[in-house]
Structures are given as structure tokens and as C-alpha cells.
């Protein structure tokens, strides 16, 4: 049964308040389940009342200890000696362990080895965990670890990407994707340009820091309560370090206080260390990272240093391009192979590159190992080509939007990517044209020029940038997920799935999907903690895949139970399947109507199993890394944004005045949640490109190691005028859950419009004749120096 609603007008954020009972366009809902409706977040009432329980809020257990780790103070060196006698003697300390005390694996690298749980005999970044302490309080544990005396033999540290490239210091081998003969095409083109850009990394700054509690169980097992996007991996790594089988370790994950990729692999070390200490002491151990420790010891978005050479025609159409992306991966592989791959996959963004060579280097530096972060390398890949668009436009004296439009992928031709996937169902022309109209782009372009002609100090800038983001894990086996649904005899439903809730509303959407299947009110469905003993071998909640995978898996489970109920009804009441309907919290069997609860009880009495698992794997995808060809993505999520900024040419200060977004989320399962994802992703991206600056000193120590020195967007950074709309009438043409599209990551990259608008404002200083170089984050300092460079060019 489909109860989708065709929405004729773009749904904007302004009309979303109180839409729980009605559809966003005012229509009444068709079914009770709620797919397509702006249901409130399943935890909202608890969150506002302080009743939602996070790991740190769980009541302390009898004998609970607190963990802390000693950290390396140098970026690279051999450990000569570790004198931990003062640590052991410190007040409150119950246990001190080093890597020698690990009974199982000492390496907890998630894909490739390279991440020792505690340092073996050398250190590779400032902040690397050396030893761990369990003490009677959080404060005493933190104080104790400071008493260690560590002697090092310092080794030369690699601290810049340029140095890593020169030394061929890589965590994984370089890789190239190729379509045609780019160099010949560049040489043959009417015009050539080249350029390079530094793109800064990003600290996740989830408001809830990393935390895990380990509770020893019988048989040498361990229960772990953690804030993790990947409970199954935590289970596996804990089992491996303890040297116990997987069935002795249970991981429970109710909710995270934010994840953003930062708890995909980075949650596991602290769970492992807590488990090691709990195993040694036979007492529960909680490990909560203090904010500064979290910022120093956990990986971030990869900084990149990219460059390009492009050939293009008189219209600005790209004929050939060479792009090199160089990711700063930090000291170990972690997920960097896939992250740099995704940067390469997105080096085209929305544009047909024609003849293209894209090379990706995975540079090894002596910093913390960089990791997943919303977009997973995609944003850093897109920045290069968006820079190319601006550079071509300024060179030809065109509006950058005109150059962007002319380079968009075509429908049936000019539609093959540099990794040989055909771009199907491409609606970016339509999205851009709709947005261009609804945002009054052309009129505002004129208004901005008029403003700039009149104002000597303040300058405005305007830019429209698109996003095309590939949906699917590029590691094929991760594209699967499971779910477990129970119907109880009172008609209430228990829902469990392999995905984890980090605020994105996954539990809410999946509950809506299950409720829709049974046509019951969504409040009937109780979401529960992700648990490795309910749904095994789950994939991480990442790559925007949460609803696509878990929604389908949960739907499959619900469908199984539903088909059993229908079969039972047919048999018991002598009807055929078409005469059994689920509607309005009822089961209608022929002429008889039962409440869903009554029918569940009847089915139970009739010995019908009311519990089922469900499973889903993404179809169609394949990719051959050796040839660089295939279809790594099931589909693309698309959108576009227009941003207008104002800058101060004396100080470099700026402000986002207005952002308009049009995003294709397919048939939205929950418009309010989708709009929340879009707004939040956009602002997070704006922070990445503007105020969020990671600074390491010459010894490899992170200086921006707390929220006083690392500035994520605050409330005044939100655009004064913020208009977010969903593309109407745009069901996903692939058979995703209710034909929706993923929304977690794609809108993050819409923030590139902010960076492009800042460059537009800067370009006005020299009458739009020069394309300013603006590395990111575009702090006021970088903006001011870009302005000064253009001023001197003008003179």
C-alpha cells in the first residue's frame, strides 16, 4: 500500500510549525502511519525536559571506576621508558595498564591495521594514548595520568602535506580515476588555467563528547554502553582486544549527542580501553573524554591541498581537466582510503568533465588520524571544481552561474562521470532554474553590483552553487542492514534496527515506516536502543544511508508479520487476502473490524509469530577499483543554494545575509526532519568554510583544542533570511524506501555557496576581473588578505 502525497508547492521551513497533525501543504493525511508527515522527533519531549538519557546520564553502577589515558607529548618518537610509579601511587588509582596488559589484539585499526589501542613502542602524534588508568573518580583519573614520566627518542615528524608528498609518505597507495585523454584535451582547448587551494579540516564538536561504559559480565564477557555510530564494530574490536568471541560482547547504543562521522570509528578506542580496565578490575568502568582531550585525541575532517589544470572553450565549457587531491590523513589509514576515494568521486560535483584524470594521494602526517566527517571527503573534492568554475568565469568575464550551468551534466549525453557511471535522472538544471527564479538571483545580481558601486568599504557578494552527491557506501559490503520488529498482544510495536540515532531523526522515520505498514498511529511504535544482540553485524550509520537501509529492513520485517496476519485472517475467517485491510489502527477482515490490538491478541491465541527480522541490501551497485569503472552509487542526491554575503574590506569581517536552498529529498518521509537536516548541514558546512580553523603548531600540537579557540557557528551566524524548500513532485526514480532520497550529508556541501559568495564580494574590489584565491576556512583574516591582494592587483 502506498500512501504518498503529491506536494505541489515547494515546502518551506516557515510553514512547518505545528504540522504534526496536518501535511505541510495543508492536506489531511491519508493513513495514520505518518509517512510524508512532519512527525516530531521521537525523543523531542524527553530532550526538552532533560529526560532523554545519554551514556553519561546512566545511574552509576556499584563500584564504577573512571578511566583516563596518558598522552604522548611529542609528534613522533620511540618510547625509551615509561615510569608509571607515581601514577600507580596517586590518590584513587585502582589500576594502570599498558599495551602489555592487552590479552588480545593490540591493533584496533577499523579497516587496515595501524591504530594501536595503547602505544606499542613508538608514538606518531601528540595526544596518542600511552597507558590507561582506572580510578575512583573522573577527576582523580585525569589528575593521575599527568604524573607519568615518559622518556622519548624524538624522530623527525612530517607535519605538512607538501613534506609528505616530497617524502612519498602515504598511509595507502595513490590512486587514479581516468576518462579519456585529459592532457591532450587540455592542450587542444582554447584556454587553459591552473590553480591550487588549501582546504582546512574540521573538528566534529558533537556536543556530547566521546563516552563509553564497560560492564563485565559472566563468562569473561562485556556489556558496553557507548555513544557510537557503529555498535557492531565496537563489539568486534572489544572482543578482539579482550580475546573473547563476539557472542560474549554486547553493545547498547540508545542515542548520541551528535555524531557527524566523528563516532564512526572514533568511538571504539575508548570503549576498548574501558573494557580492558573493566576486565582487569572486574568493575564497571566509564570512560568520558574531557572536551580538550577529545579534540586532541580524536580524528577530524581531512584537510586537503588540491590543484587543477583545466582546458576550456570560449563559452567556458570544460574540455579536459587534471585534478590532484591530497588528503592529510594523519598517522594511520583509518577510513582514509575510502575518504580520499570519495573526494575523487566528487571532484566533478555536478559537472561533466569530459576528458579527466583525477589522482588522489593519502598523505601520512604525524597528527591524529583523520576520519569520517559528514560528506566523507566529498566536500573537499567538490571545492576544487567549484574553484575552477569561478576561475573560468572571471577569466572569461562571465557570471559564475552561467559557467556552472553550461558545464552541468546532460540528460542523455555528456552524462558519464570520470569513473564511468552514467548520471541518470539528472534534475539539476530544473533545480537551478527554479531556485534562480525563486531567489530572484538575476535581480539581486544587479542589486549587488549597484550596492558595490555605491559603497567603498562594505561589499556584497552573491553565488549559486549546486550539489550532486553519490549515495551508497563505496565499500560495497556495508550496503546492508537488518531490523527486528515485535508486535505485542496489546497491539504495541517494538522496533529495533541496525542504525543508530544521533539526532538525525532516524528512529522517528523508521517508526513512521513501520507504522505506515500496519496503518497504526506512530506513537504505537516504540524505538529502542541499537543492540548488537538484537540486530547483528550491522553497518555503521553513515554515508547518509540510515533511512535507506534501515527503513527498508524494518519495512521488510513489518511486511513479514503483516503477511502472517493476513494469512491467519484468511484461514480463520474464510476470506481472501484482498478482503483483509489495515486502516485507522484497525484490521478489517471482510465485514468485521478489529482494533489492531484486538487482532494482535487473536493472532497470538491462534499461535501466529508476531516477531520478525528484516533485511535489506542495496541493489545495482558495483565498482571495480582496478579499472576505476562501475556504478558505485545507487543514485545521486541533488540540490542547490544561493547565498548573499556582505564583507568589510578594512577588517575582513563578513556576514551571511540570506541563503535560499532547494533540495531534492525525493518523496520526503518527514519534511520537518529533512528540513532540519538541510538547515543543520548547511550551517555546519558554513562553519567549516568560514570560522572553524584548526591550528597545529610547528611541533604538531593542536592549538585550537577547545571551544574557546575553535569556533563553530553560533546563533548570529545563521543567515538572517534562511529559506529552505524541498523539491516538489520529485520521487526518487530508484526504488528506495517510499521513493525518498538521503539527506544527511548532501546539503552540507550547499555551504560552498557561502565561500563562493565571499569570493564574489572580494572580486568586486577589482571589478570582477580577478578570481580571488581564498583558502579555507575563509576567516576574516583570509578575506582581508584576499581583498588586499586584489587591491594591489588593481593598482
Amino acid at each position: 500500500m502506498r500512501t504518498l502525497i503529491d506536494v505541489k508547492k515547494p515546502q518551506t521551513a516557515k510553514i512547518l510549525a505545528n504540522t504534526d497533525k496536518t501535511l505541510v501543504n495543508g492536506q489531511k493525511g491519508v493513513g495514520l502511519g505518518g509517512v510524508g508527515r512532519s512527525k516530531k522527533h521521537e525523543s523531542a519531549d524527553k530532550q526538552v525536559a532533560g529526560e532523554a538519557v545519554y551514556v553519561d546520564d546512566r545511574p552509576a553502577l556499584r563500584g564504577e571506576l573512571h578511566a583516563a589515558v596518558g598522552q604522548s607529548t611529542i609528534a613522533h618518537g620511540n618510547i625509551i621508558s615509561m615510569d608509571l610509579s607515581a601514577v600507580r601511587a596517586a590518590q584513587g588509582v585502582v589500576k594502570v595498564i599498558t599495551v602489555d596488559d592487552v590479552p588480545g589484539h593490540t591493533d584496533i585499526g577499523p579497516v587496515f591495521p595501524g591504530d594501536p589501542v595503547l602505544a606499542l613502542n613508538k608514538v606518531e602524534f601528540v595526544g596518542q594514548p600511552l597507558f590507561a588508568v582506572a580510578a575512583t573518580s573522573y577527576e582523580l583519573a585525569r589528575k593521575a595520568v599527568k604524573l607519568a614520566k615518559i622518556e622519548y627518542e624524538e624522530l623527525e615528524a612530517v607535519l605538512t602535506v607538501k613534506d609528505a608528498l616530497a617524502k612519498q609518505s602515504f598511509v595507502r597507495p595513490p590512486y587514479t580515476m581516468k576518462r579519456g585523454d585529459s592532457q591532450t584535451a587540455i592542450n587542444a582547448a582554447a584556454h587553459q588555467l591552473s590553480g591550487e587551494i588549501f582546504i582546512g579540516g574540521q573538528e566534529h564538536l558533537y556536543l556530547e563528547g566521546q563516552i563509553s561504559t564497560a560492564v563485565p559480565t559472566e563468562d569473561g564477557g562485556m556489556n558496553i554502553y557507548t555513544s557510537s555510530q557503529h555498535p557492531s564494530e565496537v563489539q568486534k574490536l572489544v572482543a578482539e582486544v579482550l580475546n573473547v568471541p563476539l557472542n560474549k560482547v554486547l553493545v547498547d547504543m540508545r542515542r548520541m549527542g551528535g555524531g557527524f562521522g566523528g563516532k564512526e570509528t572514533q568511538a571504539a578506542p575508548w570503549a576498548c580501553i574501558a573494557a580492558l580496565l573493566a576486565n582487569e578490575t572486574k568493575r564497571p568502568v566509564k570512560f568520558k573524554l574531557a572536551r580538550t582531550d577529545d579534540m586532541v585525541m580524536t580524528g577530524k575532517r581531512h584537510p586537503f591541498e588540491n590543484n587543477y589544470t583545466v582546458g576550456f572553450d570560449e563559452e567556458g565549457r570544460i574540455k579536459g581537466i587534471n585534478i590532484e587531491v591530497n588528503g592529510n590523513c594523519g598517522y594511520s589509514p583509518d577510513l582514509s582510503d575510502a575518504i580520499v576515494d570519495r573526494a575523487m568521486f566528487h571532484s566533478d560535483n555536478a559537472y561533466f568533465l569530459d576528458q579527466a584524470t583525477v589522482t588522489g594521494n593519502r598523505c601520512k602526517l604525524n597528527t591524529v588520524s583523520h576520519t569520517a566527517y559528514r560528506g566523507f571527503g566529498g566536500p573537499q573534492g567538490m571545492m576544487t571544481i567549484e574553484m575552477v568554475m569561478d576561475d573560468i568565469a572571471r577569466y572569461l568575464g562571465k557570471d559564475p552561474l552561467a559557467v556552472r550551468k553550461i558545464n552541468l551534466y546532460g540528460q542523455d549525453e555528456r552524462n558519464e562521470t570520470h569513473y564511468h557511471q552514467a548520471v541518470e535522472h539528472n534534475n539539476l538544471s530544473e533545480i537551478i532554474e527554479t531556485l534562480e527564479q525563486s531567489s530572484d538571483y538575476q535581480q539581486r545580481r544587479q542589486a549587488v553590483k549597484a550596492f558595490n558601486a555605491k559603497h567603498s568599504i562594505l561589499k556584497k557578494g552573491l553565488a549559486l552553487t549546486p550539489v550532486k552527491f553519490g549515495i551508497s557506501f563505496t565499500v560495497q559490503h556495508l550496503n546492508q542492514q537488518g531490523a527486528l520488529v515485535h508486535v505485542y498482544t496489546d497491539g504495541t510495536i517494538h522496533l529495533n534496527h541496525g542504525g543508530s540515532e544521533m539526532g538525525q531523526g532516524l528512529n522517528t522515520k523508521v517508526a513512521q515506516i513501520v507504522a505506515e505498514e500496519f496503518q497504526v498511529d506512530v506513537d504505537t511504535v516504540a524505538s529502542s536502543a541499537a543492540r548488537t544482540d538484537k540486530v547483528p553485524n550491522s553497518s555503521p550509520t553513515a554515508a547518509s544511508s540510515g533511512t535507506d537501509l534501515n527503513g527498508k529492513a524494518a519495512q521488510a520485517a513489518a511486511k513479514t508479520i503483516k503477511s502472517r496476519l493476513i494469512a491467519f485472517a484468511c484461514e480463520k475467517y474464510g476470506v481472501n487476502a484482498e478482503q483483509v485491510r489495515f486502516a485507522n489502527n484497525n484490521v478489517i477482515v471482510g465485514e468485521q473490524t478489529f482494533s489492531f490490538a484486538e487482532f494482535a491478541q487473536i493472532a497470538y491465541m491462534g499461535r501466529v509469530s508476531l516477531s520478525s527480522t528484516g533485511y535489506y541490501k542495496t541493489p545495482k551497485i558495483h565498482y571495480d577499483r582496478a579499472s576505476g569503472k562501475g556504478r558505485p552509487f545507487f543514485y545521486y542526491a541533488t540540490g542547490a543554494a544561493v547565498t548573499e554575503v556582505i564583507i568589510d574590506t578594512l577588517t575582513g569581517e563578513y556576514k551571511n545575509l540570506r541563503t535560499d536552498i532547494l533540495q531534492d529529498v525525493g518523496h520526503s518521509i518527514n519534511p520537518a526532519i529533512d528540513i532540519g537536516q538541510i538547515e543543520g548541514a548547511f550551517i555546519q558546512g558554513q562553519g567549516w568554510l568560514t570560522t572553524e580553523e584548526l591550528v597545529w603548531n610547528e611541533q604538531g600540537r593542536l592549538l585550537s583544542n577547545n571551544p574557546a579557540t575553535y569556533k563553530i557557528p553560533a546563533i548570529n551566524d545563521a543567515p538572517k533570511d534562511f529559506r529552505v524548500a524541498l523539491m516538489p513532485d520529485a520521487p526518487n526514480r530508484e526504488h528506495t524506501i517510499y521513493n525518498s532520497k538521503a539527506v544527511g550529508e548532501p546539503p552540507f556541501m550547499l555551504s560552498i555557496s557561502v565561500w563562493a559568495a565571499l569570493k564574489d564580494a572580494i572580486a568586486s574590489v577589482n571589478d570582477y576581473k580577478t578570481s580571488p584565491v581564498l583558502d579555507t576556512p575563509a576567516t576574516p583574516e583570509r578575506v582581508l588578505f584576499a581583498v588586499e591582494t586584489l587591491k594591489s592587483t588593481k593598482q
Binding site: 525536559a49 556536543l207 544521533m502 578594512l650 543543520g680 569556533k711 557557528p713 546563533i715 545563521a718
Partner: protein
């Protein structure tokens, strides 16, 4: 007389504490002693607002009125609670009914991960207690100290802008009179104190008690809001042996005016003197709204900002530019010095052992004088300045050979973030003094500034940016003064857009 206890209301319950380590924060107390985990720890440094709670206190002037103030529980010492009502997120619901500040966030889909949410709820609650129909700007000002990493803020702004004029009376309104009289009684108690783990806290009520306590133990640590000091405990894991709390000292918590001066008690929180300063110096009000967050301004004080002698405090350059003075008290004797002279070197001041800052005197403006303040930071809200520029300029006009000649009669160009102490640019000033304010003299002042300062490169900005922007701000000040006529204005501030 000393009471060996502190007393406060937790919601409506009277709490009395005697034996507790005064180094613990309100957040630790709530989560670990009261088992109330609704208030979250996001950073333990007062930067994220996840731990925001509200204090209701009796108004200084009207003892029958309660003021509701949002504060960061993570950097407020437990002793500061005496004679106040502590309100936490768990206390807002009335039975099963969510409070207006909670329901509006639910209705606007203003939660995602929910970890910041209790803090936002409490900031919105405090705002609506005094302003049931806030404007967008008022909401932004009240919530700028609460970080959200998920939503992008639009939904939260919409929630907080929802009028509470016709909302049902909450439990605090229902118990208002009762709360007032309970707090009045607590205020009458003699000097509260705490002792635990070998550490002490005492809260003198007047300047004589303070002087006495300090002369007994001159090495005691003075604390007012604690917004900076508490970081030494939560971040650097220090412990403080003896805390003397200044927030109850009557003489240090007043603001008075004479014909020529505004006199601000050193322990008076920012939020209680912003309005007065804004009245006399419009730039001052705008700048102070960017010092810390609302939560910090509700606790933080002028004495604290000057007293810790940070090179990046925002108030000292402004006070130096205005020629403000400060009065220091040691064992009953007082001396008054220029704020400018207080700073000797990095974190070194004229303050003697046992001496404390009593008050700061700020001259009122006279015709012809202008104060321009510029705070340059990466982020608009709650960010430490890369450069803080404070320009005081007095221009006189005289007739010379039948012509009206304009002259800079007095100029002080003070900067924060440019040196180890807040400092004036003597050479740049010399380039302007007795000159007309012109492109030419400004160019000379800009050039001279490079001989006044050798700024450093750090996590906030490079030396080159600091110098360039400091020079450009002199030019900006010139443009703003020259084009102050409404018909001839040159727009120079992005914040006005």
C-alpha cells in the same frame, strides 16, 4: 559572624550544605550529588551553554522582585548559590505539561541530538521571564552563548520568538511570593561559608568583613563570577585552598553616578551595568554584548576582567581609552590609579598582596569627545578578540584667520591583543595629536602604529593580520567620524546588515 553553611533553593526545596569541597561546580553538584542529569556537560569551560541553568535572585534595588539569570553551571562554584534559587531543566514541567520554553522547541522541531537542548530551554526560559515577546535580536542576544551543532538555529530562534504572553502561569510564577520571602530570609543570614576536602569558601557581606578575611589570609583567592577562575579547576585540574566570594559584598556590587563619573563596583556583573554604559557610550553597549555570552555576562564582572590582567580582555583597552581610574583597597586604606597604569607586564599588575579592586570610575563624555570600539574576532558571538581597538578622540574647533579650524585636542588609541598587556599606541597618537583629522594624518598614524606594536601570531590571528587590521581600524574610525552626518554616511559595519 560566620555561618558554617550555605543555603539556597533548588527549585522550591530549601538546601543547606556545610561540608562540601567548594571547588566543585554547580554542574558537578547537580549531576553527582543531586543525581539530576538533565543539565549536560558539553565543554566544562563555559563555551557551549549545554549546562545552562537559571538563578533567580532578589533584585538589588527592589527586594520584592526576582531576577532570572541564565548562567553556565560548569564554571560556577557551588558557594555562589547562597540565597539564590537554582532552577534546572527538570523543574520546568508542571506535572506532565511541558513548559512554554520546552513546548515551543518541540513544536518548531528545534531538537535533533538534544544534547544542547536543556541549555537552550533554560536560556529561553530566563529570557521570557523578563520579556514574553522578544524580538529576533533579543532572542539572538539571549541565546548566543548556547551552541547547537545540529539544527542550524532557525527552528530554535522561531521557538524562542514565540510569545509567552498568554502561556499558562508556570510553577515559578505560582510560587513567586513564597520564593521571594524565602530568599529574603536567606539573605539575612550571617556570612555564609563552606569547608570540605580541606578547602574553604567564605562570602563576606561588606567591605570590612572582606578586608578582615583577606588580612587573615592574604593568599586567599578572590572570586566573583568565577567565569575565568573556574577554568583553572575544570581545565587545568587545579584546586583552590580558600575562596573568598565577592558577589555578596555590598560596596562592590553597586553602580553609582556623579556629575562626571560612572562608578562601577568591581564585583558587579556585566549584565547590571551594560545599560548605563550603553547610554553614555553607544559603542560600549554593543561591544559588551559580545563579551562572552549572556551566561558569562550574568556572572562575569569588570573587576575580574581587569583583575586577571589578561592581554586579551576586552574592557581594559576601552577603559584605558576613556582615561578610567580604579580604586584599590588594602587593609582599610584606598588608592586610586589610572586603569592604564595597573598593567605592568604579562599577567603582572600593580595589585599588592591582600589588596583588592573596589571600583572602576569611568568619566562621562563631554561634547566633542567620541569613543569608538572595534572588536575583531573569527566569530561574532562569544569569541576572544584577535584585536580590540578603543579610540577616544576629542576634537576642538577654533577660528583662525576667519576660518574654522578643526584640531584633535586629545587622543587615546588603546589596543588589546596587540601586546603582552592592553596598551596605547603612543606614536600613532602623536601623529594625530594637534592635527586635523584628515586622510594625511590618518596615514601617518597608521604608519606610526607599526613602531608602537610588534603583535604575535597565535591561534586567533597572525601578527600581520593584527597589525593590518589595527591600522585599518584607525582609518575606519576616521571615516565614521568624518561621515557622521546622516546625509553623508559611509556604511562601515557589517553588523548593521
Amino acid at each position: 559572624m560566620v555561618a558554617n553553611t550555605i543555603k539556597f533553593l533548588l527549585n522550591n526545596e530549601l538546601i543547606e550544605i556545610a561540608n562540601i569541597d567548594p571547588n566543585i561546580t554547580v554542574l558537578q553538584y547537580l549531576r553527582e550529588e543531586q543525581f539530576k542529569s538533565g543539565t549536560k556537560e558539553g565543554c566544562a569551560s563555559g563555551d557551549c551553554g549545554a549546562c545552562t541553568v537559571v538563578l533567580a535572585e532578589l533584585d538589588d534595588k527592589n527586594n520584592e522582585q526576582l531576577n532570572y539569570k541564565s548562567i553556565n553551571a560548569c564554571i560556577t562554584f557551588i558557594g555562589n548559590l547562597h540565597a539564590k534559587q537554582l532552577i534546572t531543566v527538570e523543574d520546568l514541567k508542571d506535572g506532565a505539561r511541558l513548559h512554554h520554553a520546552q513546548q515551543t522547541i518541540v513544536d518548531n522541531h528545534g531538537t535533533q541530538c538534544g544534547f544542547c537542548t536543556p541549555g537552550f530551554v533554560m536560556s529561553a526560559f530566563a529570557l521570557h521571564k523578563h520579556n514574553p515577546t522578544p524580538t529576533r535580536d533579543e532572542v539572538l542576544e539571549a541565546l548566543a552563548g548556547n551552541l547547537c551543532r545540529c539544527t542550524g538555529y532557525r527552528s530554535i530562534i522561531a521557538a524562542a520568538m514565540t510569545s509567552s504572553e498568554h502561556a499558562e502561569e508556570d510553577t515559578f510564577a505560582q510560587h513567586y511570593q513564597e520564593t521571594v520571602s524565602k530568599l529574603q530570609q536567606l539573605q539575612q543570614l550571617p556570612m555564609p561559608s563552606l569547608a570540605g576536602n580541606g578547602h574553604q569558601f567564605i562570602a563576606p557581606k561588606n567591605i570590612d568583613e572582606l578586608a578582615y578575611e583577606l588580612s587573615n589570609e592574604p593568599s586567599s583567592t578572590l572570586v566573583a563570577g568565577g567565569t575565568d577562575l573556574a577554568l583553572s579547576v575544570t581545565q587545568n585540574l587545579a584546586t583552590i585552598d580558600k575562596l573568598i566570594y565577592l558577589g555578596n559584598v555590598a560596596e562592590l556590587t553597586t553602580i553609582t553616578e556623579t556629575d562626571k563619573e560612572i562608578i562601577i563596583g568591581s564585583a558587579l556583573p556585566y549584565s547590571q551595568f551594560i545599560e548605563t554604559l550603553h547610554h553614555y557610550y553607544p559603542d560600549f553597549g554593543a561591544m559588551i554584548e559580545r563579551i562572552g555570552s549572556k551566561q558569562v555576562r550574568n556572572n562575569g564582572t569588570l573587576g575580574g576582567n581587569i583583575g586577571n590582567a589578561s592581554p586579551i580582555g576586552d574592557m581594559p583597552p576601552a577603559l584605558i581609552a576613556l582615561g578610567a581610574t580604579m580604586t584599590l583597597h588594602l587593609n582599610g586604606s584606598e588608592r586610586t590609579i589610572l586603569v592604564e597604569d595597573y598593567f605592568v607586564d604579562y599577567k603582572k599588575t600593580l595589585l599588592r598582596e591582600g589588596e583588592f579592586i573596589k571600583s572602576i570610575q569611568i568619566p562621562k563624555p563631554v561634547v566633542g569627545q567620541t569613543l569608538k570600539l572595534y572588536k575583531i574576532s573569527k566569530r561574532f558571538d562569544d569569541d576572544i578578540s584577535a584585536v580590540l581597538a578603543a579610540f577616544f578622540i576629542e576634537i576642538t574647533h577654533e577660528q583662525k584667520a576667519g576660518k574654522r579650524v578643526e584640531r584633535i585636542n586629545n587622543v587615546r588609541l588603546a589596543f588589546g591583543g596587540m601586546a603582552a598587556i592592553p596598551k596605547r599606541g603612543a606614536n600613532a597618537e602623536a601623529a594625530l595629536l594637534q592635527q586635523t583629522f584628515s586622510q594625511q594624518s590618518v596615514a601617518q598614524a597608521k604608519a606610526a602604529l607599526s613602531s608602537d606594536f610588534q603583535p604575535m601570531t597565535d591561534v586567533r590571528a597572525s601578527d600581520k593580520y593584527r597589525m593590518t587590521v589595527a591600522q585599518n581600524l584607525i582609518e575606519k574610525c576616521y571615516l565614521e567620524l568624518k561621515h557622521s552626518n546622516p546625509t553623508d554616511v559611509i556604511e562601515t559595519r557589517v553588523v548593521n546588515y
